[in-house]
Structures are given as C-alpha cells and as structure tokens.
C-alpha cells in the first residue's frame, strides 16, 4: 500500500514536471524538464514493477536512463555547437547569440 502511495506521489511529480515542459519559457527549461521527467520515468518503471508484482522489467528502466542521457547530450550539442558532428574538445563553442532561447541579457 505504501508502495502504491509512492507510485501515486511519483505520478504527481511527473505531472508537475510536465508543467514546466509545457510552459517553457526557454527551450532549456523544456529540456531540463524533459530530462528530469525521464529520470522520474525510470524510477516509476522500477517502482511499478514492485507495485504490480512483476519486478522483472528493470532492464527496461536502464534503457530509459541511457536514452534520456543521450538525448540530452544531443540537445546540448544542438545549442552549444549547432552541429551534431563536432567534437566536444575541438571546436570553439557557438557564439553567444542564444538564438532559440530568448534569455540573452
């Protein structure tokens, strides 16, 4: 029962986290929210296995964590380098234009 309460709490947290992804205002907020949503998803999958009595599916949760990470890195490269091919250690970062995020000072 307590586990179910935990699942419900996590569900609430996911719903709340979604709000920031929806309202923005900058794209970074959305990515942050999406990333944090992904982490909560991982926890939720792990938890729901115990709640529903079939905890064999933890394998999937690892994949979620992994995908979540790689997608965030790709988004980060999108902003910082405007390219997916650049090496992180080589190219100078893109200039401070903040084209997508309207948050430039």
């Amino acid at each position: 029962m307590l586990l179910a309460a935990a699942a419900a709490g996590l569900m609430t947290a996911m719903a709340l986290g979604l709000v920031r992804a929806l309202i923005g205002p900058t794209s970074y907020d959305r990515i942050l929210s999406a990333n944090s949503f992904g982490t909560k998803t991982v926890m939720f999958i792990a938890l729901i296995g115990f709640v529903f009595g079939r905890p064999d599916f933890l394998d999937i949760a690892i994949a979620y964590a992994l995908i979540n990470f790689v997608a965030t890195i790709a988004l980060m490269k999108f902003f910082r380098y405007r390219s997916l091919q650049a090496s992180l250690s080589r190219l100078a970062p893109a200039k401070d234009t903040g084209a997508d995020a309207g948050g430039a000072p």
């Binding site: 529903f52 009595g53 079939r54 599916f57």
Partner: protein, 146 residues
C-alpha cells in the same frame, strides 16, 4: 460509468490519433508534418495495445503460478477468473498486438528518417521547408503555364 471506464482508452487514443493527423494535415512545415505523422503512428500503436490488454493480466513472459510473483499476481484475482482467462494458472495479456506494434514502431521510425531526409534535401534545393513557399517557387521559377 463502467462503460465509460471500459472505453476511456479508446476515446483518448482516438483523440491522440486526431491530434497527430491534425498536425500532419494543417502544418505547412515539412518537419512539423513528420512529427505529426510520427505521433499519429504511435497513437495507432496505443490503440492496438489497448485491444490486447486483459484485466488482471501480466506481460506475456511465461511465469510459474507457484512462484512468488505468480502468487502475488493471483492474490488479486478470483480463481474462477484465472481459470477462465488464464493459461496454466496465470492471466497474461494478449501478446499478438505487441508483436504487431513492434513491427509498426520500426516502420514508423523508418518513415520518419526518410521523410526528414527528404525535408533536408528540400531545404537545400529550395531554401525553405514551408509547403506554401515551395509551391510559390515552383510556380515562379518554372515559368507561366501555357
């Protein structure tokens, strides 16, 4: 109420399909259309999975009914329901829709990749991915029609 709960999934999935289709039809931007298409295809997957759900069931990975997990599952269910809906004492959801949707998801990502690749080429050839501007460019640069 029971009817609504029983069909809630289908109604929402229909809404999702309509949303995806709406994005595809109404957008003029090629990338946005592909996103809509991807959402549409995913929603169809959700529809299939809804069809295959069996109440009180578990994923179709064979489980011994005497194992801990099996007993935990059956604790919620009445024995005659398990006897009616289950196989070897465990109730599973229908695996066939899962198989079909696995295939459909793969087809979906294949379509997405090709569609986006075409969009990139369109951008290189026309300088835009907006359908209206492309039609305009075709009209003006192909010369007046006879």
């Amino acid at each position: 109420m029971s009817f609504l709960l029983g069909h809630f999934n289908y109604l929402i999935v229909v809404f999702l399909m309509m949303g995806g289709l709406w994005i595809t039809f109404s957008s003029r931007n090629y990338i946005k259309r592909m996103i809509g298409l991807a959402l549409f295809q995913t929603s169809v997957g959700l529809f299939y999975i809804s069809l295959g759900k069996v109440a009180g069931g578990t994923a179709a990975i064979v489980l011994d009914k005497t194992s801990k997990a099996g007993e935990a599952l059956n604790a919620h269910l009445s024995p005659d329901y398990v006897a009616r809906a289950g196989v070897d004492g465990v109730v599973y959801s229908n695996p066939l829709p899962h198989v079909l949707i696995l295939t459909a998801i793969v087809v979906g990502v294949a379509t997405l990749a090709v569609g986006l690749a075409i969009a990139v080429r369109v951008r290189e050839a026309y300088g835009t991915v907006e359908a209206g501007e492309i039609a305009e460019l075709d009209r003006t640069e192909a010369g007046p029609r006879a």
